[in-house]
């Protein structure tokens, strides 16, 4: 008896996000325990649950049937106790890790069943670059701080079964054998009262058994985990079709990126332009060969330049966008994304808002200048908000018309401007490489700052040029190549921290370079008169 008096309840912490049905899950568990004749209690911190925040639920079940307790009732804890949990079941990998970080899980005691899927937080999504937490690192924590762990994509399991993740989590709990209840006990409660099983219940049961098997079948499980830990990122397919003449000019280490880049530039404009790409890249290769003839760095500069040069040369403009949006493959992709049935009709409206600069880009310099000058004179810049129905004949026709203006691009003002900027950057890379391999490499990597379209693209170019002029070329307090390389690397990362470039300016100043010149931005000033306004009635 005293032995049983010291018996501890089975403790389970459930982590879910708002709207994932964690409440239903705990209700199920308590009912299952009750019907099986065991004492159980659940509590929760729903907070503002359905508003996508993280929520936790806590369940305690006493492992000895009520019938054997001689009328006594165990006292349950209302809150999970760090280091005293038998299991954590979580529908989101980051939240699993957060709870482990709170000290909840112990390698001696805790079974962790977590979804491999991530629901990215706003903080991760809003970064200019890639702000996502390293999933591999999160998984390492799960492995290191659990007695036993099961990892699988609960979200996918739920989607396949056409149910919500709570049913999947229940299946995982049942499959883990955490509780002394038979599988039927779980399914009965999910099925609900009455002999007729509802569609919803059926879907729940499908999700239940998927998860049950996933956790219950070790081999399947192991495969999934190793699959995950290996990292599911599929590598870039090496697109062949690179002319032998071109391929022979570059070392093997560069080939795959070169093939992609060459194809991109060719697809973007024409053979001449692709040739220009190759010529430019050869300058870089020559410079790199000079400082690293043995290829000790496996020609990383040339390889990175093959990437960034192609992307910059294939700069986005309305012609390019029209081309991409009018492809048949794209129409198909949209149908799949919106999960349209075969019988369904899909209408696609594309949001464009080209401004004066976009049109000016395609005009010869003299004309373009006049357009932009006119635009500057306006209180607010001119732009044309469009919703083009690419499913309609007119919409598609106008997209194709725009896409066919490729020839105009070459004659346009922007084209020549971009080429000039590319050459400045290229020149900096080549010169930098000649001075010091790392310096050249860092400048090459700055190609990452050049992105997309409109204001984003403008910002990127300003930042890049400023970095080149003041960190790569201009004299610095410590002008040593390595110091410059460090400064450029720091500036590059800082540039991706915030739109305003506050971090970038700080970094520039820290390394003895001037901050970027303040760009004028029209603001409608409204000044209230110092003495309080008279009653407006």
């Amino acid at each position: 008896m005293t032995n049983m008096n010291r018996t501890q309840p089975i403790t389970l912490l459930i982590c879910a996000l708002g709207g994932e049905g964690g409440g239903v899950l705990t209700e199920w568990l308590v009912d299952i325990a009750r019907h099986a004749g065991y004492a159980a209690q659940s509590t929760s911190i729903p907070g503002v649950a359905q508003r996508t925040g993280a929520t936790t639920y806590y369940v305690e079940v006493f492992p000895v049937p009520l019938a054997e307790l001689g009328g006594r009732r165990p006292v349950f804890s209302l809150s999970p106790v760090p280091g005293a949990l038998d299991a954590i079941v979580s529908s989101e990998l980051l939240e699993t890790t957060r709870q482990i970080g709170n000290g909840m899980s112990t390698p001696q005691r805790t079974l962790v069943i977590t979804s491999s899927s991530r629901t990215l937080t706003t903080a991760e999504r809003m970064q200019l670059g890639d702000g996502r937490a390293d999933a591999q690192r999160l998984l390492d924590v799960v492995k290191a701080f659990s007695r036993e762990h099961h990892v699988f994509d609960m979200g996918a399991a739920a989607r396949d079964a056409g149910t919500v993740v709570s049913a999947v989590m229940l299946g995982a709990i049942a499959g883990s054998g955490l509780y002394p209840f038979p599988r039927e006990a779980y399914e009965e409660v999910v099925r609900g009262k009455g002999d007729k099983v509802s569609k919803m219940a059926e879907a729940s049961l499908r999700g239940f058994s998927k998860a049950f098997d996933a956790v219950n079948t070790p081999r399947q499980q192991a495969a999934m985990v190793t699959g995950l830990l290996a990292g599911s990122k599929d590598e870039a397919p090496i697109t062949s079709g690179l002319p032998q003449a071109v391929a022979s000019l570059f070392p093997p280490a560069v080939q795959d990126m070169l093939a992609l880049g060459h194809a991109r530039v060719l697809d973007y404009q024409d053979a001449d332009y692709a040739q220009l790409y190759v010529d430019r890249l050869q300058k870089v290769l020559a410079a790199e060969r000079a400082v690293d003839p043995a290829g000790a760095q496996s020609f990383a500069i040339t390889r990175e330049m093959a990437r960034w040069l192609a992307l910059w040369m294939a700069f986005d403009d309305i012609v390019r966008v029209a081309e991409l949006k009018s492809r048949a493959s794209r129409a198909q992709r949209v149908r799949e994304e919106v999960k349209a049935g075969d019988e369904d009709i899909v209408k696609v409206y594309d949001h464009f808002k080209p401004g004066a600069p976009e049109f000016a880009a395609l005009l010869p310099a003299s004309l373009a200048d006049r357009v932009t000058a006119w635009d500057r004179r306006r209180s607010t810049p001119w732009a044309l908000p469009l919703k083009v129905g690419s499913h309609s004949v007119f919409g598609m026709a106008s997209l194709r018309l725009l896409a066919s203006l490729r020839w105009l691009r070459r004659r346009g003002q922007r084209f020549s401007q971009e080429q000039a900027l590319i050459d400045r950057w290229l020149d900096a890379v080549v010169k930098g490489t000649q001075v010091n391999w790392r310096l050249g490499h860092e400048i090459a990597l700055c190609g990452r700052l050049i992105k997309g379209y409109g204001s984003t693209n403008e910002r990127g170019k300003h930042n890049l040029l400023h970095v080149i002029d003041h960190l790569a070329i201009a004299p610095l307090p410590d002008g040593s190549p390595t110091a410059r390389a460090d400064a450029i690397a720091a500036a590059r990362n800082a540039a991706l921290e915030d739109e305003a470039g506050t971090a970038l300016d700080a970094t520039l100043v820290r390394h003895g370079a001037p901050p970027r010149p303040i760009k004028e931005q029209p603001i409608r000033w409204m000044k209230r008169t110092p003495n309080p306004a008279s009653h407006a009635r």
Partner: protein, 717 residues
Amino acid sequence: MEVSFSKEIEALRLGAGDTFHGEGILAITKGLLQSGVAYVGGYQGAPVSHLLDVMVQAKPYMDELGVHVEACSNEASAAAMLGASIHYPLRGAVTWKSIVGTNVAADALSNLSSPGVRGGVLIVVGEDYGEGASVIQERTHAYALKSSMCLLDPRPDLGVMVNMVEHGFRLSEQSNMPCIMELRIRTCHVRGSFECKDNLAPAVSTRALIEEPAGFDYMRLAHPPVTFRHEKLKGEERLPAARRYIAEHKLNELMPGKHTELGIVVQGGLYNALIRSLQQLGLADAFGATDIPLLVLNVTYPLVPEEVADFCVGKRAVLVVEEGQPEYIEQEIATLLRRRDIQTALHGCDMLPPAGELGVEALSGGLATFVQRHLPDHAQDSAQGWLTGNRDRRAAVAAKLETPLPNRPPSFCIGCPERPVFSALKLAQQDSGPVHIAADIGCHAFGTFEPFSMGHSILGYGMSLASRAGVSPMMQRRVLSIMGDGGFWHNGLLTGVQSALFNGDDAVLMIFKNGYTSATGTQDIISTPDDEVKAHAVDKQQSLVDKNQTIESTLKGLGVQWMRTVHTYDVDKMRKTLNEAFTSSFNGLKVIIAEGECQLERQRRIKPWIASLLRQGQRVVRVKYGVDEDVCNGDHACIRLSGCPTLTIKDNPDPLKVDPVAVVIDGCVGCGLCGANAHAATLCPSFYRAEVVQNPKWHERLLHSLRGTIVRALQPA
């Protein structure tokens, strides 16, 4: 209303011999009916919203019993409602979220407590304290002390909680004091069971009306000179009466233990955590049998001096387990021990953390110190190992992660009509310069989180406009006050609008008119669209809040001259309207009404409607937005302007590019913000709006196939 409580309402009908299974707050609701409550009121707020929600939905059954249920406009009106029990033998209960709700109710509570009550009064407050709390961290205890109200803090066991409800009413009647019952968050949501009794139909009720009003009795007024007498009565009669009742009925539980030379006094609500801590230290068993004697205070005010003295006298040391600050109970015990010259050592805040929730781990730390000091022979290796183990593990995980994990604060729902307003506000500040933003309580407070991070102050529910009265006269640029329709009716109309108009203030007020008090669970308010309107709406997808003009007509009636109504999803128009308000030459109160129905409520209406249409094989148009992965520039400006959960990022499918691209995942309700932002902010042209037509009509099919052939002819691979 957010949820349907049909199941819970059935549970309310249970009678003697039945067993109730469910949440703590619903057990309390059942307890009210078992005690013959005659009227119930309150204001919604976690964690006690369900009490009122269920009662409102159970109106037919309440009418059957003769119980009146009132959804009050705020906690003050709920507390004032208790005035019914001053003269008449009516048992009344009200509920709200504390501390904030009690603050709002304080005036009425004082004026209720002074004359005292004849019918039993129970105030069920959700003590929103510790993990999961959404308000400032203060104790309701102070109100019980200053206004002389009994404070019940029942052990979180459904049976005990229900029992304390019934005792609460009697205690209130015996002592003429109102009773507050504080329930912590987890206690409200605890799932358990208890043996039911039959519900009592109140003797005086909406079915058995009072024939004549009570005679005039000045003593029942909270008005001098009798208020001086009331104050004396509190000390001379009411508190003693209360103490008598508490002692006679043994509301506080005495739990013996073998270490008689020690003792622990604990708030009832903390009992379970204390037992688990004792278990961790090997001083209690699974069923709560403890080695150290306990005095469990199910009533934390007033204390019964004899009870406490008898417990402490002859003991070497006593530990008071009390949550939050100041440590009122510990101080009172210290005083009474000193007065009685009892030399027992008293511990509490010297060993336990003075601030924050007393979870099992925190509690065990203090308990371990207490045991070490006064029970040195008791082995603690296991407990200490567990505590240090936790510390070490946390450090180890932090080290392994290197960078701290990103937080996941709550955010606007998918398709929320309030999100676009903050997008517009972000853009408007780029035109007119940054403004001081007086924020408020409500869903819109999520605008203080990423990606918007807007708001300078939150002074209380509906207080935003009032809270800028001192700022805007000092500020060169105009100040923006943000208020929900919930806050507007709760008190923003008077404390804010009326005052601003009277003083002719130069102010800008943004009212989020989503039709409900959404943050508390989308309860209806006076400006909620009528059910008939919803029933008759041909297109159930559209927002219906424009069908109710109560807010607009109220403002006009008060004399607001500058008022604009903007549909929230029209970001460009909202941006222009904000700029106009910030720069207009009109120096009075400028009100912008941001119109857009709560998406939660809309989806509850839309989902079944769509499902039924599809069942009947009728034409349905589903809208989803998407991003072209090969056009997206991977800068995520769109996300910094939205933060919608379904607008997220994925690995870049283009092997040349490294930064992740934006993607719209399943769950998008096609609210239109992505498109509106793309135009308003001139984002990259990667966004598309897809309209999926299910069960299209035959001529649609025909047209589409013809169109399709031509379009395909134009398309390259």
